[in-house]
Structures are given as structure tokens and as C-alpha cells.
């Protein structure tokens, strides 16, 4: 389908980024959600964007600071 012919889809797509980032107002979130419920192509599109955001988060997140860094920092602070 071509989203250009569907004003509702365009409105939703313009809100995709703040939607996946949970930056819309509750009312706006609800409007988008209602559109996604009745528009599988848009829903799929939004799913992909959400999955992508999760992918970035999941893979960059669990990293820990090297052992010893905390002690080095505290040592610096004691000497400060």
C-alpha cells in the first residue's frame, strides 16, 4: 500500500519517533494506538522501529566498568 494516499497513516507516521520514545501526550499516544489497531501495515512499521530501538538498547546496555575503576576514582577523590 502507499501511505501517501492515507492521511491517517501519514499523521501516525509523523508521530512514530516520539511514539516509540514515549514522548507524546497520553491523548496523542492513544490516538496513534487507535490507528495502529485498525491499520496492520502501520502497526508492522511501528513494531519494526520499536524492535530496532530495543536492539540498540539491549546490545549497548549490559556493559560494566572494568574492575578497579571504582577504586581508582575513589582514590582520585581522596587526593582531590
Amino acid at each position: 500500500m502507499n501511505f501517501e494516499d492515507h492521511p491517517d497513516c501519514l499523521i501516525a507516521l509523523n508521530r512514530m519517533q516520539p511514539y516509540v520514545d514515549r514522548e507524546l501526550t497520553p491523548g496523542e499516544m492513544e490516538e496513534v494506538r487507535r490507528h495502529l489497531d485498525e491499520c496492520p501495515p502501520c502497526a508492522k512499521y511501528f513494531d519494526l522501529e520499536e524492535s530496532f530501538k530495543m536492539l540498540v538498547r539491549r546490545n549497548a546496555c549490559p556493559e560494566r566498568a572494568p574492575a578497579g575503576l571504582v577504586q581508582r576514582i575513589l582514590q582520585n577523590l581522596r587526593e582531590a
Binding site: 500500500m1 502507499n2 501511505f3 501517501e4 501519514l10 507516521l13 519517533q17 516520539p18 520514545d21 514522548e23 501495515p41 508492522k44 512499521y45 513494531d47 519494526l48 522501529e49 524492535s51 530496532f52 530501538k53 536492539l55 540498540v56 538498547r57 546490545n59 549497548a60 546496555c61 556493559e63 560494566r64 566498568a65 572494568p66 575503576l69 571504582v70 581508582r72 576514582i73 575513589l74 582520585n76 577523590l77 581522596r78 582531590a80
Partner: protein
């Protein structure tokens, strides 16, 4: 390590000195230092500051150095922290400033921030797959830690720091804008462009490593063309 716990007690090496430094600060009438001890703050925030530093500097020793400098400055300027505001965001703002002053050249002389096409993954992996097949989701599942981290590190610094703060560290647009000292609108556009670039890069990885066929491009014409130049 509770600052109050050492009050009046013999101070051993370690936490005691820092805790006492706090108490001394907090005894004044204009006690503006955060009401917690710094050791706990270091323990709590060191991992997230380090991983952000590592993505920004791309080098473990430089990342360690950056984080050490960040905490040192935070400690020295702790009286400038406004109680009731977000301490974690404050630390990230300090780290951002240290990074920018040290890597000014790398940060200023950006590669040209050319736009990539919008909705890259969707364009190339398409919706409308038969039999519930979902190549896009499969590709995302198969991409590994290394691919994602390299792709992030290849982003221009201005996009990289924005994506890290929002997507990885979970800061809001407003907090990210505050940390980076840029308008919220700029956060949104950098985030958008940064993600598009990441998607393009990860798509290329997936093609190069055989996760998907390069002729997956053919599916683009089943996709959409919000930005024009695509399907009709």
C-alpha cells in the same frame, strides 16, 4: 558507606574521608551538596558513564580516563548541583563537556552529516511477507553485540551522543537536550538521523554476513514511499 554512619566514629581509610567531606559541607547553612555520599554515587553510576564513554572514545583506556575526570569534576563542583534535580543527568552533562573539550577536533570537524533515506529497514526488508515470515525481525534477532556496538561507534559524534543518551541510557528528549545543551528539536532530528544511519549500517552488516540476500532490495518496491523516490 552512609555518610551519617561515620559521624563521631573513628574514621578508617576509605569512605570515611569522603563522607566527612560531605558532612562538613552539609553543616553550613547554605548546604547545597547532594544529601548522599559520593562513594555510593560512584558505585551507582560508574557503569553507565563508562559504557557511554567507551562508545564515545572507542578506546577502553581513554574511556576510563574520561570517567575518572568526570567524577573528579563532579566532586569538585558538587556544590553546584541543584538538589532535587537529576543527579545522573548532571553527571552525564559533566562527562559530555569533558569529552567535548578533549575531543573538540573530532567533535567539531564532523564528517558531513548527509541524510540517509528515511525508513531504511522498512524500505529494504518490506512488510507484506508471505506465511508470517518476518525477515526484518529475524535479521534484528541475529545481529550481535559487536555489530551493534561498531555501528554505534561509526556514527558521527553528534548523532552518537544523542542516540546513546536516549536509546541506551533512557533519558527523555528534554533531559538529553539539557545534557547536550541543544534544543529539543535538535535532539529529535539528530536522533532520527542517527537511527536511520544505524539502520543502514546494520542492514549492510546483515547483507555482508549473509543474514539476508542483497536482492532483498527488491522488496523495497512493496514498501512505501513517504519520502518519495520509492514505490509508486
Amino acid at each position: 558507606m552512609d555518610a551519617l554512619a561515620v559521624a563521631g566514629a573513628p574514621v578508617s581509610a576509605g569512605g570515611g574521608l569522603l563522607a566527612l567531606a560531605y558532612m562538613a559541607q552539609n553543616q553550613g547553612p547554605a548546604a547545597t551538596t547532594p544529601p548522599f555520599d559520593f562513594e555510593a554515587a560512584v558505585a551507582e553510576h560508574v557503569d553507565s558513564l563508562y559504557r557511554a564513554a567507551l562508545r564515545m572514545t572507542r578506546k577502553p583506556d581513554e574511556a576510563e580516563d574520561l570517567v575518572q575526570e568526570t567524577f573528579l569534576r563532579a566532586y569538585r563542583f558538587r556544590h553546584q548541583f541543584e538538589p532535587g534535580t537529576n543527579f545522573r543527568a548532571w553527571l552525564f552533562k559533566i562527562q559530555t563537556n569533558v569529552f567535548r573539550s578533549r575531543y573538540r577536533r573530532a567533535h567539531g570537524a564532523e564528517q558531513s552529516l548527509d541524510d540517509t533515506e528515511d525508513f531504511y529497514l522498512y524500505q529494504h526488508l518490506g512488510p507484506d511477507q508471505p506465511d508470517g515470515q518476518d525477515p526484518a525481525a529475524q535479521v534484528l534477532d541475529r545481529l550481535g553485540v559487536e555489530e551493534v556496538r561498531s555501528a554505534i561507534e561509526e556514527l558521527p559524534a553528534a548523532y552518537r551522543e544523542t542516540v546513546l543518551l536516549t536509546d541506551v541510557e533512557g533519558f527523555s528528549y528534554r533531559e538529553t537536550a539539557e545534557i547536550l545543551d541543544i534544543p529539543v528539536g535538535t535532539v529529535m532530528s539528530r536522533l532520527h538521523r542517527g537511527r536511520q544511519r544505524l539502520q543502514r549500517r546494520l542492514y549492510d552488516y546483515a547483507v555482508d554476513s549473509g543474514l539476508i540476500d542483497a536482492d532483498g532490495d527488491g522488496k523495497a518496491d512493496q514498501g512505501m514511499a513517504v519520502q518519495g523516490g520509492g514505490a509508486t
